[in-house]
Amino acid sequence: MKISHHNRHRPTLINPAHEDSFTNETRNFLSEPNLERSRLDGFDYLTCLLAFTLIGLGVLTIYSATYNPEAASWLTGFCRRQLIWVAIAGGLGAVLFLVHYNIFYQAAYPLYVVSIILLLAVEVAGSTHMGATRWLNLGGINVQPSEFAKLAVILALARYLSERRLPPPYNLKELVPPAIIIFCPTILILKQPDLGTAMLIILISGIIIFVAGITKRTIITLGISAVSIAVVGWQFLHDYQRQRILTFLDPEKDPLGSGYHIAQSKIAIGAGKLFGKGFLKGTQNSLHFLPEQHTDFIFAAYAEQWGFLGVLILLALYFTFLLRAIHIAAEARDSFGSYLATGIAAIFFWQVTINIGMVSGLMPVVGIPLPLFSYGGTSMLTSVILISILLNIHYRRKA
């Protein structure tokens, strides 16, 4: 009895019990009836439209950010490359959409193990760039295992929580195993050091665990201890020590330099005022006062050109998208899908918050791109695949 019960938690390819719309016992993506039904109304057009609108605005902003009137081609190199990445990511996303998301359930733990191995490999044989060891050369291709680990943690967490027998809400003691899942890669990432990604993993995992359900006491305990550790610890530090810690944790941005960057970014955003300076008329951007204007600071370039109204539209797009993602999480056919969708929503939520918070001077500079917007192949690929999974979860939601 006990063994059989335990066995029922294991996924199996034999038992096609998918009529039970909210099960985590049996998954079979090889015989999936919904796909055959071809429900057009099952496809989430809204999310898809939001995503493409954001990508479109992003490409436009990359164009304006890298626009050079003296260049031979009207299409800037960055813009063209971004479009190519969008195409690749879109194709990959479409293929993934066809496959039941159960495949991620199956792959969750193996991927987690691989990501840990990769992070250890970085520790041993990573290439150092600007004082941080983040990159691993795999047969000529530089990969950043921390980016990969972010996804692996979400998958592993979603799987662990969905197959857990113990009913939520969980207390502090019951959160030890998920904490181990979270902190193993996080510590390795902190050692690189990459404070941004480490924090991001913790924050994303926090939302997943919160949605899964934890007791009020746990929330209060965790909240108080986190805040007090941060506040008390920070208070005891001298300015130069704080700077040193920031520099140590994130040497890529020297504090003096980032101060200048933030100042310029704030000027760019503020100078946009209500209506913005107009397309291609952002001087902060075109005269290169804005740093990283097509990657991490692209929001400032956008805000300078389109003003507060443009910013409101952009925030509305992201906000609708996030609400939609949470909605998908709530509607998923099984708890794995819910947790995964929550994780995806959390990724987008935190990245948008941190990025805009950073460029508008609310938060310290950490190198986090604006998803769907910033220039960069990896970021675009990850974002589109995440959206594809989201659509996947929605498509295969309970009837």
Partner: protein, 606 residues
């Protein structure tokens, strides 16, 4: 099975409940971000717009070109040229390349070591990295060529051009033109200089200093759009620069040059004046200095060399040197005696080589005596005893007042800074400064241009201009203006004619002290007067010959002249410090200058 379904149910409940909370939290955070952006873009939008403008729009000064200084014929004496400065832009130089680059730069440039380059490079902060740093100002053509040739190996190295002041005649008229210097911090605080900025050049001496405001012009303003690296992209002229006014001097640079060359390495002054209007044709002070050395920041060894020279090359001798005029004063005393009717043309005094007054023996330069001397002869042969006799009959205050009419003891008002007035002593002056009464003996000394009396070479030239134009004092001046107001000196024409005749005889009579320096041509005739001013008392000189006396004890040599006699176009005063006898040292120089000028003006003005 109940267990499993309970588990499922509770998980689902939790998800739905908590998802709602997450949505609320997300909404709150989005509201936070929105209000932050509202604060930046709407509340502080104007502030950041201004900052954005400040970021990219820089006000640059457009330096006005300094006015050009020319001579009376329009030949350029002070011009603007370009200086080439070697600069690096740290931002464009990779940290790893700086050592190699510094070595390479140092190899092309004299007295610049690579250490200095590296220090300058590493001392600049993140904020100043886009600004060019000057490694060396005013490259010489060789250095410029070497840098240009290796430009491709020198990334981040640029050549900046800067307007410079150039003086084509250099030493020849550096005392007139003066030079420029960078304004210093102390001056910048003064109200007079409140329209000036750091790195502005101001005239330090000479015409450059005196006419600073006129030559300077008015700087313009340009707004420049720059990118983050400080590179200028566009520029708009907000206010055009007004070049300084050009200035024409009365100097004849050919004459000036000739006079300077004629002077050779002798120390002294030459002043040439057009007696018809007081225009200064040449003004020489030797030894001279190169004012081009001051055109940029002068090197300290050059400055030391010039400043520590015992002969004081920076001193402008014709206006700042106060010397006893010696016998050149005699025509003035003579014409005063005629005016005051103390003597007439026939009055004679006997010269036996000296005159004794009280216990003092006043000697004539000719110790054998001149015998019977009338006024004409006294000038022609420069008899001292004749003037001793006059001096016993004239009060010093009368001489002083009369001398003032000829400009002695007064500043002429020449357009150069630092002019000195010399000393035309009077009884009240002596009482005030020496605390003693005036003795007749003092007047005796003054009457032969010794004693307390000192004059500048300019004053002597101006005085002889009065004799040249028969009685009108024109203020000597350097800047060409149409307006010449002369002051008629109160002398009778008859007396003036007599003195002029006597001055003519000095040069043209066989017995005259300047006969040897008469003009070589018959076309014109010159009149003049020699002077030999004692530096030390006669008794101290044990040696008779000039060449055997130590240089600093030798007499000052004077010669003042004008020509042509009938309608003078030039009056000249030559003064050679410790030159010995005026007739033998100074007079030949004056003669050559006069001949040069008369030939030149005759050819150019038919």
């Amino acid at each position: 099975m109940t267990n499993v379904s309970d588990n499922k149910k509770s998980k689902r409940e939790q998800i739905i409940k908590n998802a709602r909370i997450v949505m609320i939290v997300m909404t709150l955070i989005v509201v936070c971000i929105t209000s932050r952006l509202w604060f930046l873009q709407i509340v502080n939008g104007e502030y950041y717009s201004q900052k954005s403008r400040d970021n990219r729009i820089r006000n640059r000064r457009v330096r006005a070109l300094r006015g050009i200084i020319t001579d009376r014929h329009g030949k350029i004496l002070a011009d603007n040229s370009l200086g080439f400065n070697l600069q690096i832009i740290p931002e464009n130089i990779d940290k790893r390349d700086i050592n190699k680059l510094a070595e390479l730069i140092a190899a092309q440039i004299e007295d610049l070591d690579s250490e200095k380059v590296i220090t300058l490079y590493s001392n600049c902060s993140v904020y100043t990295r886009h600004r060019p740093l000057t490694l060396k100002k005013n490259l010489n053509p060789d250095e410029l060529a070497r840098i240009e040739a290796r430009k491709h190996e020198l990334p981040g190295v640029i050549i900046e051009t800067e307007p410079l002041r150039e003086y084509p005649y250099d030493k020849i008229c550096s005392h007139i033109i003066g030079y420029l210097g960078f304004i210093n911090d102390r001056e910048l605080k003064l109200e007079v200089y409140n329209s000036y900025a750091q790195d502005d050049l101001v005239g330090r001496t000479g015409i450059e200093s005196r006419y600073q405001n006129m030559l300077r012009g008015r700087d313009g303003q340009r707004q420049v759009v720059v990118n983050a690296r400080g590179r200028e992209l566009e520029s708009f002229t907000v206010k055009p620069a007004n070049s300084g006014d050009n200035l024409q001097l009365t100097i004849d640079i050919d004459l000036q040059k000739f006079a300077f060359t004629t002077m050779g390495d002798q120390i002294g002054s030459i002043v040439a004046i057009d007696p018809k209007n007081g225009e200064i044709l040449a003004l020489i002070s030797t030894p001279s200095f190169s004012n081009n050395l001051f055109s940029t920041r002068i090197r300290s060894e050059d400055w030391k060399r010039i400043n520590n020279n015992p002969l004081h090359p920076l001193q402008n001798r014709p206006i700042q040197g106060c010397y006893p005029p010696g016998s050149t004063i005699k025509p003035l005393i003579a014409i005063l005696a005629l005016t005051d009717k103390l003597v007439n043309l026939n009055t004679e005094f006997f010269c036996d080589g000296s005159l004794t007054l009280g216990h003092t023996n006043f000697r004539c330069w000719n110790r054998y005596g001149h015998g019977k001397v009338n006024i004409t002869r006294s000038i022609r042969e420069s008899c001292d005893v004749y003037y001793y006799n006059l001096a016993t009959r004239i009060s010093i205050d009368r001489i002083a007042a009369f001398g003032n009419e000829f400009g002695l003891g007064l500043k002429s008002g020449i357009e150069l800074p630092g002019e000195r007035r010399g000393l035309m002593p009077s009884s009240s002056w002596k009482l005030k400064h020496i605390h003693d009464q005036w003795y007749t003996g003092d007047t005796l000394s003054v009457s032969i241009g010794q004693g307390y009396l000192t004059t500048t070479p300019l004053q002597i030239a101006a005085m002889y201009s009065v004799f040249a134009n028969s009685g009108i004092y024109f203020r000597p001046h350097l800047v060409k203006t149409g307006d010449h107001q002369g002051v008629k000196v109160k002398i009778k024409n008859k007396d003036m004619r007599s003195i002029r005749k006597a001055l003519w005889m000095v040069v043209n009579d066989k017995r005259g002290t300047g006969y040897k320096s008469r003009l070589t041509t018959k076309k014109w005739q010159m009149a003049g007067k020699t002077g030999t001013a004692q530096v030390v008392k006669q008794e101290l000189k044990t040696l008779k010959k000039v060449s055997e006396t130590p240089w600093r004890y030798r007499d000052h040599a004077w010669f003042a002249a004008f020509a042509p006699f009938t309608n003078p176009r030039i009056a000249v005063a030559v003064m050679i410090e410790h030159g010995g006898h005026g007739g033998s040292t100074a007079a030949p120089i004056a003669r050559r200058i006069i001949e040069f000028y008369l030939n030149k003006t005759d050819n150019s003005q038919p």
